[in-house]
Subunit: 370 residues, 2 copies
Amino acid sequence: MSLFNVDLKRVVDDSYEIEIGYELINGLVDDLGTGLLGGAKKIAVITDSNVLPLYAKPIASKLAQAGFKVEMFVFPAGEKSKTRETKARIEDAMLEKGFRRDCGIIAVGGGVVTDLAGFVAGTYARGVPFVNFATTLLAAADASVGGKTAVDTPVATNLIGMFNQPRKVYIDIAAWKTLPLRQVRSGMAETVKHACLANADMFSFIEENLEDILSFRRFACEYIAENNCRIKYQVVMKDERESGLREILNLGHTVGRAIETVSDYRLLHGEALAVGMAAQALLSARLGYMSEEEAERVISLYQRLGLSTNVPDYIDREQLVRKLYTDKKVREGRLRFVLQKGIGDVVEFAPGVYAKPVEEELAREIIMEL
Amino acid sequence: MSLFNVDLKRVVDDSYEIEIGYELINGLVDDLGTGLLGGAKKIAVITDSNVLPLYAKPIASKLAQAGFKVEMFVFPAGEKSKTRETKARIEDAMLEKGFRRDCGIIAVGGGVVTDLAGFVAGTYARGVPFVNFATTLLAAADASVGGKTAVDTPVATNLIGMFNQPRKVYIDIAAWKTLPLRQVRSGMAETVKHACLANADMFSFIEENLEDILSFRRFACEYIAENNCRIKYQVVMKDERESGLREILNLGHTVGRAIETVSDYRLLHGEALAVGMAAQALLSARLGYMSEEEAERVISLYQRLGLSTNVPDYIDREQLVRKLYTDKKVREGRLRFVLQKGIGDVVEFAPGVYAKPVEEELAREIIMEL
């Protein structure tokens, strides 16, 4: 018998910059010219059918003018495309076009695009560099920080994926105006979640400036984008691998993810999250972590955003309860919820533990009320 | 405009142990009991149809006796199973059986199993811990060190995958006796490659002890296993990401990988590699990096192992030349080869550069001779 010790301790630096601003395409092209993607000359622009004409084509065209070899890889817009099959089709198309490990990837779009493209980048030739050009409010709130990439499967959302950090993230606020209202509302669902878990002032700001946000006044959008990044960043910085603190970002997602899946993605992520946030608010109030009034403020803000906080009629609530068990936080067969502590904080049940075991019966009770 | 700097510089420790010995199943069960897989109680044993009765079932049964919840996930033996589709089927089965991020994975088998299972582990719930229980000579030579995991696609081998380090590797020499002769020969192809690129003494040892190796005399097997690990380890230690030095492990693989694909996997990896090693030996001699006699020694050792060094008749050599361009070492459309410098060393063309651009015409000429 003999033993070998393979010593792979080393310093890893995955640091990157998030740029928040207006009209960032030229800056992206400049950054690539100065080696942002490791000097890659061959660039895959991954996007969806909605974003293609608005942003992906202009980006591809400017990159081509700057001397890059650029190909676009487009899939149908929507969460339904976030699958292993779409990933495989993009990979096959990239292989077919001669992309090898010296290429780079630009994800142009919302969270579905950045989740999928970041996952493609992570496993293409065992990893090629990528940047995110985020065009939606939701991507600014959710997908821009943290390095989470994933696809959905028929059984569960986001369970197949990896941590993969981009080389840079661009949040182009100018793009928000091009979003359908439904997308904007969906993006605001994550923004309100951030306020609920970390920043009471931000919650008040949204309550007071709802009209300015929904009409894309610049000061309001910048405030939203910056605070979203700051909150997510502070959490992710402290805990890159979601073992403890990062779990707080899962606030509202226990029920939210389950509804999203059971609805077969008829609900957008943020629409499902609104119901999930209402569920956790009721649960938090029931368990004494926030007042009934605070729970009502949370639910009411979602409703003012035009988001329903009720389980849609077409959903079988018992099926929804069963689906809760596919949640990533489930341990040894028990449901676990992140819960709000008033507005602007979450409950830390034990040092570093933020997901509390909850009896199925109580979860069912809340779901039946919504 | 505002900028955020996401600071993700940190120390990562992916170190692990390789245990080489006889009958290691009990040791594996003990290690899991003391938290090797992060205390996971739910274990997925991933294996192929050949290894299932020989090792996977005994392992699963002993783990169950020790109190673990164990499920086996089995796919048909052979490189043809190393696909995204097999990966998806395993994932779906694991999701169906309720595996979540608190599970662990044991890969039991040869290189196909460890490549595939390591990739499954890397993207399941964004990464769960795994160990490799390597039952083949090839896995000992090739798959046990380095953390490379991957699947094949219709267009190219191993181009979709990731670096993912196991928590431990077991090389059970007792298992080699159960291998079909064809597998043993295939495994020896990588072993001889290691000797060619790094260790002239090992090359001589194999020449002199060929009978003892092929009849699994313990001293010979241990020598082979240990030296394979040592060579691969030294290379991988110095260069985990294959940017420079690690490329030398690609010796013989430019033509080898291409033949393997064009043969539609009728050839085992090692059988294809034997032809690839002959190709690079002739090329190295033609370019003056080794003598004709040394090239002959390499080719002759492969033949003594019972491996053909000729391109099979059923392969279209022009198609083979075209297929060379799917090689991962291709840069800006040019073929690149790692070349031997005598026996036991490789050519370093420039500091840290081991893959030399080679004209297609010269590559074609060599392929036509084989």
